[in-house]
Amino acid sequence: MKNIVVDMKNIVTRFGENLVHDHVNLSIYEGEIYGLLGGSGSGKSTLLKEMIMLLQPQSGSINVLGKDILKINTIEAEELKKNWGVLFQSGALFSSLTVAENIGITLKEYTDFPRELIDAIVRSKINIVGLPEYAARLYPSELSGGMVKRVSLARALAMDPKILFLDEPTSGLDPVGAEEFDKLILGLRDVLGFTVVMVTHDLDSIWSIVDRLCVLGDHKVIAEGSLNEVMKSSHPVVVRFFKGTRGLVRSRAYDGE
């Protein structure tokens, strides 16, 4: 049995009157690519933000890398946060820093590496995410949407995270770019061996790179497991998601392979 790296139990989240999660349970295993699915407003991003300590649920427990993050003290939290990298939906690059400075900022703050080594790491991360060399000196405002995602991925990878959290990594990318990005994440996962947690509603990503996934709907997890297991569910949300026109086209192509 693989180790569990993220374990959420009985999560209840409420924004004012609005109930978002009603006793949500899920577990993510080491080394897998885990997809969080659901329609708009189903609380996928909220769930992700709870895992990375940006939001707190009203009740429940969240265990990340063996630490209960709802009861953790500040020092431990600081240490824990160095173990994950986050790619935000809009990239969230620091606009006053160049690409290279954006990628190197955690290394500069948290390690005492000499400049050349930080430089070498930054350079290699830039290459590994498929960015051209000259991009290093550009500012975020000078980048295209696809490049912003790649820089953001490079920044998330800078500290060699154990878990990589991705919030809709392929949204806003063209199909070719999205496929490349998926392959990139898959390739990096295979070599570096980190765990990937991604919020997505890109059907192609779900079919091609996600190992396990959960579908959120009606404030609960309505199906969790591998794609085949989830597809067996007869819940209307799952049916609508995978048996809609887009889903059918994709699953036919998938069966044909």
Partner: protein, 397 residues
């Protein structure tokens, strides 16, 4: 007790940091003309910083064109930082024409080495720059050029706003009355408390200063002339303009700047809504309507402030003050102050909006341009006021 617990936390923290992490050990030895670099233990982000300094010194000591064997068989765990460290020095050694061999890599490690090897090409530029050193002369040149460009752009901006104004006059139905009224409320009505407070205090200050001087000559009654003329003609317009520049000028820049960053302005343009008609003119007109009214308001409050102090300091009753004011204050002073208000309002709104459109697509520039906008607006208001003084004096008004 407290110090004890602080100590405890401290040591717990130190112990925690010491625990678990096996420091990587790097040894560099010379055996039969071959340099052997031996790595042991964990090679990851948390452990390699010592190794980095050892390698830096060690590799410098290795002569050119020597044979180097890099043994990694005793390494337990790797992450990408560890690999990049090794590859970084391998590349440096290769540049010294050394013959470098990496031995003892597990298949997993081999895969990672390949992945990063193809990617770490040495380029001569350092990516992360150090603190910027300004080149004085170059800076002056750049500043001058950008200053001149700003002036040209500002004149173009004013031109475009006049064209839009003409459009407004030709097509009165296109005037954005709702936006104008909303802006009057925001920039005019809501600014009244602060305008009242500042102009009252200015009245008080002038009265105090004047009272001391005039008392020496027994010319108490002339305090009315002093307050009446200075407040209506100079101080009320100026103080109101400065308050409005700080309050509305900055908010115009920030609002339009954010709209530019969130692409709202692009969206408007794509729907063929002219931003001048939708954003600039309503603000300009609103400010030009509310500013003279605010100055009138500031006149009243400022004179009242002066009256209040005259009563206390010079025993000049309110009735006497009011009587004298009717003789002493010619109505032209009041009108000059009001007319200045139109110009000040126009300058503040124009600079505020202009700087807003200059905001580029990053968050830092909003703050920068907001500051610039306020500084420019206050400067222009004072310059314009000085121009008024010169011209009116020459004309003998």
């Amino acid at each position: 007790m407290l110090s004890y617990s602080i100590f405890n936390v401290f040591f717990w923290h130190v112990n925690k940091m010491r625990k678990k992490v096996i420091k990587p050990i790097v040894t560099i030895e010379q055996k039969e003309g071959v340099f052997v670099i031996q790595c042991k233990g964990d090679w990851n982000l948390k452990t390699i910083s010592d190794a980095a300094s050892v390698l830096k010194k060690g590799t410098q000591a290795i002569d050119n064109k020597s044979k180097v064997t890099w043994d990694v068989s005793l390494v337990k765990k790797f992450d990408s930082a560890g690999i990049i460290l090794i590859l970084h020095y391998v590349t440096l050694l290769k540049e010294k024409s050394c013959d470098v061999k990496i031995t003892g890599a597990s298949s997993e490690l081999e895969k990672m080495l390949q992945m990063f090897e193809s990617n770490t090409e040495k380029t001569d530029v350092l990516i992360t720059r150090g603190p910027m050193i300004h080149n004085g002369l170059g800076e002056i040149g750049k500043k001058t050029v950008s200053w001149l460009r700003d002036i040209v752009e500002f004149i173009a901006f004013l031109g475009e706003s006049f064209v839009s104004l003409v459009y407004y006059i030709v097509h009165p139905s296109s005037i954005r009355f709702n936006a104008i009224i909303k802006n009057i409320e925001e920039a005019g009505l809501r600014a009244l408390p602060i305008v009242a407070l500042t102009s009252f205090l200015i009245g008080v200050v002038v009265a105090y200063q004047g009272a001391v001087q005039l008392e020496k000559f027994g010319a108490n009654i002339f305090i009315v002339d002093l307050i009446g003329v200075s407040i209506t003609r100079e101080l009320a317009p100026l103080i109101t303009a400065i308050v409005v520049a700080g309050r509305s000028g900055s908010s115009y820049t920030a609002q339009i700047g954010v709209m530019k960053i969130t692409e709202e302005i692009d969206a408007m343009k794509s729907m063929s809504f002219n931003p001048f008609r939708f954003l600039v003119l309503p603000r300009m007109i609103a400010l030009m309507i509310s500013m003279p009214l605010m100055i009138f308001f500031a006149d009243i409050i400022g004179i009242f402030g002066g009256m209040f102090i005259s009563e206390i300091q010079l025993n000049l009753s309110y009735t006497e003050f009011a009587n004298r004011l009717q003789d002493a204050l010619e109505v032209k002073h009041f009108w000059i102050g009001i007319i200045k208000g139109f110009f000040f309002a126009w300058l503040i709104a124009a600079v505020g909006c202009f700087r807003g459109f200059q905001v580029s697509y990053n968050t830092e520039s909003i703050g920068r341009y907001t500051t610039i906008s306020v500084v420019n607006a206050i400067f222009l208001v004072i310059a314009c006021d000085a121009l008024f003084s010169v011209v009116l004096t020459e004309l003998g008004i």
